[in-house]
Structure formats: C-alpha cells, structure tokens
C-alpha cells in the first residue's frame, strides 16, 4: 500500500476538502474490495477501468439522483460483472446471497446483530 506522510504534518486538511469521500458505508466497502482484489492480482487496473467506463457509458440508474451514489452504483455494477467474469463468484450466487441477507434482516429482532444464519 502507499506510503504516506505522517498525518500530523498537515493536521488541518487530512481528507477531502469538500466533505466525505464516501456518502454511505457500502460505497467505501465496494471501493475497498476492488482495490484489494486488484492488489491480490485478480485483475489489472486497466481491466477495471474498462468495466467501470462501460457502466458509466450505459447511463445513470433512473432511481438515483445523487452524483456520488450514481457513481458508486456504476462502481458496484462493474465490480459484480468483473467478479463474475473472473470466476470469483457468479450472478446466481450473488443473487442468492443477497436474498439470504434480506431474509436475515427480516428475521432478526430490531437492535440485534444481523447474522446470515438467521436467513432460515
């Protein structure tokens, strides 16, 4: 990973000057997974750029107006396609797992941690 200067050298501006880099946690998680899979050698960065630029060229999702959310929706679409094309997962596996998480939430009493085993 990148070496960085000690943060206290510039204590006044350690982060993006115009607010948070990610507007929701899932955006940060999708970003981090992409970087780690790339660093582990599962794909070249130029391959990633091809995938995300294709998503962007296909246009914004109609149900989203926030620019950052639109961007990370493209990001997530691209990551899912790349993961499937590289054989790391598959569309049916991803859909099944998403449905399992949804059931797990619905079966978990409010305030308790949501575990996949609650999917039933």
């Amino acid at each position: 990973m990148a070496e960085t200067l000690p943060i206290d050298r510039f204590p006044e501006l350690p982060r993006d000057e115009e607010g948070p880099v990610f507007s929701e946690p899932w955006q940060a998680e999708a970003f981090a997974m992409t970087v780690k899979l790339h660093e582990a050698g599962h794909f070249d960065w130029s391959e990633w750029v091809t995938y995300i630029s294709t998503e962007i060229a296909n246009g914004a999702p109609p149900d989203e107006v926030d620019d950052n959310a639109i961007y990370y929706r493209h990001w997530l679409n691209a990551l899912e396609r790349l993961v499937a094309d590289k054989g790391l997962s598959s569309p049916p596996e991803l859909v099944d797992r998403k449905d399992a998480w949804r059931r797990a939430y619905e079966n978990t009493p409010h305030g308790e941690p949501v575990e996949l085993t609650s999917a039933g």
Binding site: M1, A2, E3, T4, L5, R9, F10, E12, L13, P14, R15, D16, E17, E18, P20, V21, F22, W26, A28, E29, A30, F31, A32, M33, V35, K36, L37, H38, E39, A40, H42, W45, S46, V49, I52, S53, I56, A60, D67, N68, I70, Y71, Y72, L76, L88, S89, L94, V95, R97, K98, W101, R102, Y105, E106, N107, P109, H110, G111, E112, L116
Partner: protein, 203 residues
C-alpha cells in the same frame, strides 16, 4: 416489553446496493479472497490519510527545489515516489506545468481516473457527467464556474486521464511568497489547483 410491537419484530433490510455489497463481501470473505481487516484499513487510509496534502507537498518541493522540479517533469512517478507517495492509481504519473500564458486542466472523460496517492479520491464533480464532457468542449466556461478567469490570450490545455496516464497540474507559485517555508507553501496549495480548476493564491 416491545414483543407485541410488530415494528420491533424484525430489522428493516438496507438499500439494494448495500445488500449487494454485503452479499459480495460475505462471499469473497468465505472464499478467502479478501480479508476483513484489510478492507477496513483501505477505507481508513483513503478516508483519513491520503488526500491532496500529499500532492501539495510535491508542488511545494518543486517550487523550492529546481532539481526536484526537473525530475518531477521528467519522470513524475519516480519523483513523487521520492516523497513516499505511490500505489494504486499512482503509476504512470505525468506532471504538467502551468506557465505564464499556459493553463493546464485535468479530466477523465471516460470515468474517473485520478492520481489517488497524491490527491486522494476524486471530488464528486470530477466524477459527474457535466465536468467530464464540458471540461473538454468548453474549458473556459468551466473554469469560470470555478471562479477562475483567465485572460483571453492564455492557452488552456486539457489532459484526459486514463488507465495508462494520470496527470497532476503543477500550479504557478504566486508572487510575494519568496520568504515562505516549504510547509507554508504546501499549505496554500489546494486540490483544485492541482486538477487545474483553481489557482494558488498568496494568503
């Protein structure tokens, strides 16, 4: 006792993209393809540790050290790595120098290629369609919206970043900053001045 209250019998699922990310993350973790602590570290690094201050340190060094500036313009990736900044999206860097009569500006028309190790993650407007298209078709009006008005005889060069090359603008050092230390100079350098949508102003 909330047992009788239906609303408390279950937890509302998060948004569709959040569920998709949970699905992807849990599958990749199970398969040993990613590691949870490493994910947290990446998020923390990009949220808190990497940002335009790294690029500002590069610019300030170039302003005070002519030899460094020459190395930076000759081989930006290596010169930036001298200061300890490298990593994903920091390979194949090109630094373009603003001069009297020449203003440089950076865009990624296809997506959002951006030099993460020196500037952090890109601002929202950099990733949005209006900037990606208008920076090329009408850079002068884009600059105007950023509050940058250039004389008509100043040439504007727009550089389109891509997977192979990522650009950083070396802004002009403002007049009246001769006595300033490198750290003081770095503190003046804004992110936008290194994208080319801003100028460095003396305090």
């Amino acid at each position: 006792m909330a047992k009788h209250d239906h609303d408390h019998e279950h937890t509302a699922p998060p948004s569709d993209p959040a569920l998709r990310v949970k699905a992807l993350e849990s599958l990749l973790l199970e398969k040993g393809l990613i590691d949870a602590a490493a994910l947290d570290e990446i998020i923390d690094t990009y949220e808190n540790k990497i940002g335009p201050r790294n690029g500002a340190a590069v610019v300030a060094r170039a302003w005070v050290d002519a030899d460094y500036k020459k190395r930076l313009l000759d081989d930006a990736t290596a010169a930036i790595a001298e200061l300890g900044f490298s990593g994903v999206q920091g390979e194949d860097m090109v630094v373009v120098e603003n001069l009297p009569g020449l203003h440089n500006m950076v865009v990624c028309t296809l997506c959002s290629c951006y030099p993460w190790p020196t500037l952090g993650l890109p601002p929202v407007w950099y990733k949005a369609a209006p900037y990606r298209s208008r920076a090329v078709s009408d850079p002068r009006s884009v600059l105007d919206e950023f509050g940058v008005t250039l004389a008509d005889d100043v040439e504007i060069r727009v550089w389109d970043s891509n997977a192979e090359l990522r650009y950083l603008v070396l802004p002009e050092r403002p007049d009246g900053t001769d006595g300033m230390s490198e750290d003081q100079l770095a503190a003046m350098v804004t992110r936008d001045s290194m994208i080319g949508t801003g100028l460095v102003q003396a305090p």
